[in-house]
Every structure is written in C-alpha cells, then in structure tokens.
Symmetry: C2
Subunit: 370 residues, 2 copies
C-alpha cells in the first residue's frame, strides 16, 4: 500500500517532543487524546474530516511511540498508512469506545497523573475507577495552544490546500454570469476543487448571490443570478488533513455601490494586515479593520470577527476578534476576512490566509486580481 501520504517520521517525532514537553511542564506521566485533530497531530493518521473517525492516542515518555487505538473498521487503513513509530491497536468488534479505551489503559498500566483533551465526567470517573490514577488534568487548552504554532510541514500542507481553493475561486470567476444558479456555480467549483486535489471540503461551500449575499453563511440555492448582482464565494478544502479557507466577492456586470464597498473591505483588510506580527494582541487587527470601515460609515455592517487560525481544524486559535485574549505568534496561520453585510441589499467578504512571522506576515493565499 502506498505510503506517499504518510506524515514524515521527523515531523511525528517533533510533535511528540512538543506534546511530551507540555506534559512535563504540567507534571503529567500520560497524555490521552480523543479530539480528532489531536489524534491526527500525534499519530499522522487521517482522522479529521466530516465526520471525523473515532480514534484515541496515548502518549508517554515511557512508551516507545504513540499508541493509536481505532475501531476494527479503521484498523487496516491505520496500519497501512501511519509511520512505523506509531503502534496501532483495535477495539473489539461491537465494543463501546470508552470500554475499549479503558481496557487499553489497564493493559498499559496507566497511572499517576494523566492529561486528557476531552475531560468528560464519564471519562474522568472511568479512569479513577479502573486505574491507579492520582490526578486527571484537562489538557485541551494546552494542546490547542500548541497546535496554533505550525511546523513547516503543516505550513506546506495549508499552502497546498490554498492552491486548490484558489483554483476553485478561479473556476467561480469563469462560470459566474447572468442566468446561472448558485448551485450551478457550486457544482462547477466543487468539481474543480476535487480535480485539483481536495480530499474533502473543510466546510459547506458558500455561494450567495444578490440579497442572499448579506447572509454570511448562506448555502447555495436554485436562485438565478442576475446582472449587476453581488456573489460571495467562500471555499475551504482539506489536503493531508489541513484546511484552507478563502473568500472572494464578485460582481456580475457592474454595480457601483458594491464596487465601493468592495474597495472599503479591501482597505479594512490592508489596515488589519498592517499591524499584524508576532507579539501583537489578536484583538488589534480586528479593531484596525473596524476603524477603517468606520471611516466609510460601514462598521455597523461588519457583524463578525476578523479571522481565525487554520490548521487541522478550519476554525482554531488564535481568534482575531474584539473579545480575544490571544496574542499573535510566529508560526500562526490565520485568516483575515473583513465583511460588510447590508440587509436586503448585498454583502461583501474578502478572506485571505497569512503566516505570522517576527516582523509581520507572509502571504499563503496569493490570488490577486479577484
């Protein structure tokens, strides 16, 4: 079976080191992962997607490598595709996931202080009842923070996903014209995304025309697009598990008011980007984008936050919003997506993806002129 998509061994080794460093700082002997993104991060197995697979990972200094536990139906794919560093074990057929997991933990004599990324009462009680576990610690926030800083393999995956999304937006530009329906645009765009290498959609494709473009999350309908209308196209795909997420706003024919709003949103994006670099509070670019839109009396129509981190999850930290307590760090990959939504008329959103570095940022999305 082909190993071409396996995550390189050095990448898995680096990640394990990062997880074990976190565990050591928290005084933990074992880390038990149940969130799909974390399991994929630690093992390289293709867990994320819609829906994610059921899978657990156990990581500890005392183990030779991570243990990946999956139901029987995923076992062979896991064995054939993960790095030799990862040991794959299986539930019994028909066994409930929590029961299988506890069986694994008993077998590996897990004890002492254990960190979990999904700290339900059921899980915590199960650990304490069956094992000599002294303490159970919620490690979810720590792991989220860790995943916010991308390694170069991750950046390359997001870059590839972004190339695919750009091809989809290019296709939207080609097929958008008076008389086509939103669903026709979605059909052509998604076809292009697949052929360009999408392994799945990161989220439901948005194609929203005319007054529907003022709904930020509108799904494609049979609505026929008319001359002079605005169309918001927001696309996301996964490549090697990693997401990208971009938006462009098109005008079919001419619309002077919409052109002015597009220019204003572009200005807001530039204002936000100007202040983005390692060490800056993630609320600052959001405030800058709002300030720029206020100058055009459009700030009341910017009804969502400026952006979010992108990785194995399409929406992760840091949060670029007014209420965010995050700080931008070198290695963050984030969207910058100001929008203006005028009810009953039209909406405009422009979304790009950038990589934060010490002095500023570099583009991951590079689609210009659209």
């Amino acid at each position: 079976m082909s190993m071409e998509n396996a995550v390189p061994e050095r990448v898995i080794e680096d990640r394990l080191k990062r997880i074990l460093d976190l565990a050591s700082r928290e005084g933990l002997e074992y880390v038990l992962l149940a969130q799909p993104e974390n399991v994929q991060y630690a093992t390289g197995f293709d867990v994320v997607g819609n829906p994610p697979k059921t899978a657990y990972a156990l990581v500890a200094e005392s183990l030779e490598g991570p243990i990946l536990m999956v139901p029987p139906l995923e076992y062979k794919e896991a064995v054939d595709t993960v790095s030799p560093l990862v040991k794959v074990v299986s539930f019994k057929l028909g066994e409930k996931p929590l029961k299988a997991l506890l069986r694994l933990l008993v077998e590996y004599q897990v004890r002492g202080c254990v960190g979990l990324d999904l700290c339900t009462r059921e899980m915590a009680d199960g650990l304490r009842a069956k094992l000599e576990v002294r303490e159970v610690k919620d490690l979810n926030d720590g792991l989220l923070k860790l995943r916010e800083v991308k390694d170069s393999y991750e950046v390359e995956c997001i870059r590839q996903a972004t190339r695919v999304v750009e091809a989809g937006l290019q296709r939207a530009y080609e097929v958008l014209r008076e008389g086509v329906r939103e669903v026709d645009v979605a059909a052509e765009v998604e076809r292009a995304l697949r052929i360009e290498g999408a392994e799945g959609m990161a989220f439901d494709t948005i194609v929203a025309s005319g007054p529907r473009s003022a709904y930020p999350h509108a799904k494609p309908t049979k609505r026929v697009i008319k001359r002079g209308e605005v169309v918001v196209v927001d696309l996301g795909v996964r490549v090697h598990g990693y997401c990208s997420d971009m938006t462009r706003t098109f005008i079919v024919g001419e619309n002077r008011e919409a052109s002015q709003v597009i220019a204003a949103v572009k200005g807001a994006q530039e204002a936000a980007l100007k202040v983005m670099r390692d060490g800056v509070k993630a609320s600052t670019p959001d405030a800058e984008a709002r300030r720029a839109l206020k100058e055009k009396a459009l700030d009341e129509y910017f009804i969502h936050s400026l952006g979010h981190g992108v990785g194995l999850s399409v929406h992760e930290g840091p949060a670029l919003s007014s209420s965010s307590n995050d700080v931008l760090r070198e290695g963050n990959v984030v969207t910058v997506e100001p929008g203006v939504y005028i009810p009953g008329k039209f909406g405009v959103r422009l979304e790009d993806v950038v990589l934060i570095n010490k002095g500023g940022w570099s583009r991951i999305s590079r689609l210009e002129g659209l």
Copy 2:
C-alpha cells in the same frame, strides 16, 4: 425573502408539543438546547451542516414559542427564514456564546428545573451561579430518543435527500471505467449531487477502488481504476437539513470472486431486513446479517455494525449493532449496510435506507439494479 424552505408551522407546533411533553415527564420548567440538531428541530432554522452554526433555543410552556439565539452574523438569515412562531434574538457583537446565553436566561427569568442537551460543568455552574435554578437535568438522551421517531415531514425530507443520492450513484455508474481516477469519479458525482439539489454533503464522499475498497472509510485519491477492480461508492447529502446515506459497490469489467461476495452481502442485507419491524431489538438484524455471512465463511470480514438511524444527524439512533440496547420503533429511519472487507484484495458494502413500520419496513432508497 423567500419562505419556500421554511419548516411548516404545524410541524414546528408538533415538535414543540413533543419537547414539552418530554419536559413535563421529567418535571422540567425550561428546556435549553445547544446541540445543532436539537436547535434546528425545535426552531426550523438551518443550523446543521459542516460546520454547524452556533445557536441556542429556549423552550418552555410559559413562553409563547421557542426563543432562538444566534450570533449577529446569523441574525438576519434567521429572522427571514424561520416560522413566525419562533422569536429570534442575537448575541452582542464579540460577546462570548455562554455569556450571551446567560444574559438571555436572566432576561427571561429562567428558574426552577432546567433541562439541557449539553450538560457541561461550565454550563451547569453558570446556570446555578446566575439564576434561581434548583436543578439541572441532562436531557440529551431523551431528545435523541425523541428525534429517532420521524414525523411525515422528516420522512419526506429524507426521501428527497435519498433521490439526490440515487442520482449521484447513477452518475458514478455512468463514469466508472478503466483508466479514470477515484477523484474524477468523486468530482462528477458531487457535481451531480449539487445540481440535483444537495444543499451540502452529509459526509465526505467515499470512492475507494481496488485494494483501497477494503478500507471502509477511504477518501478519493488520484489512484487510477483498473479493469476487473471493485469500487465502493458511499454518498450522503443534506436536503432541508436532513441526511441520506447510501452505498453501492461496482465492478469495472468482471471479477468473479467480487461478484460472489456482492451476492453474499446482498443476501446478508435481505436476511437482516426479514426480521426488521417495530418492537424488534436493534441487535437482531445485525445478528441475522452476520449469520448469513457466516454461511459463506465471510463473517470475519464484516468489521462494522449493520446500520444506524438517519435524520438531522447522519449517524443517530437507533444503533443496529451487536452491542445495541435499542429497540426498533415505527417511524425510525435506518440504514442497512452489511459489508465484507478482505485486506489487500477488495471490499464490498451495500447500503439502503428504510422506514420502520408496525409490520415491517418500507423502502426509502429504491435504486435497483445497481
């Protein structure tokens, strides 16, 4: 704005009555919903999808109708599309969801016994700290059970979604031939699904050829399909929020061994269907399918459960598995999907959707000859 997709008022009224009956049996004065499927069920707002929208619903006998709470970016779409029975309110811009929710509950003087479908410690503590709440009860299982029995509107939505999936499988049959890649098949099929009326995919499309068909959850790759190979195509879409989910296994050219396995899997499906009706334990058809495969010495390769309920969630109750404690009930809509996966060789899965009734079941999927 068009209301053509709004859930009919009588349907919303019926559902509210069912939720309030459940609340009354549990001694609850208020029901607070946070699971996307439950919020959509109670309000008719399009919440489910990938990812689902953030939204809450509050239901109580003492209220005129359900309260739907959404972030600012969803507010206008919600107001324009839900039934007049539903009152829509919004978070403040930048307000954290839990904070917004507690503000709503204080405003509506929620007190006494409250049922929740997402009973995190944070939520329960928040309720007790801010409100005169005497008791917090986890209502998740009760609501899942309630949603397992479909009303006629729901059955019609699933039926429409199934027609769309069938058109996609028909398209797969047309394009499958020697030399095409898995991704090409996925691209053509998903294009057809969109044009036929899919508002989104219920899960990542599966197109798995040759030895990859032995992975039940394989994603489409650039692998070129060869003559004599098996191809498993598993598709799901949403229509009006409701999912369908069907699988067919194709042979490109001829493959005698695979043909025999397909016949055996078909026999297992028939054996399972023979015992399905209201009142039967949901583990019984799973056992029947295994028994039929055992007669062909193929049972060791049936490495997953027989099926699952389908509705606003693509995987919901009842569970048709060996460890299931569920009982089939009139109004359940379930998949019946035996499979045989021979590592390194090929896999076969056949999945149909049926509606359980008193005396047996009726077909929802009706694609024959594929």
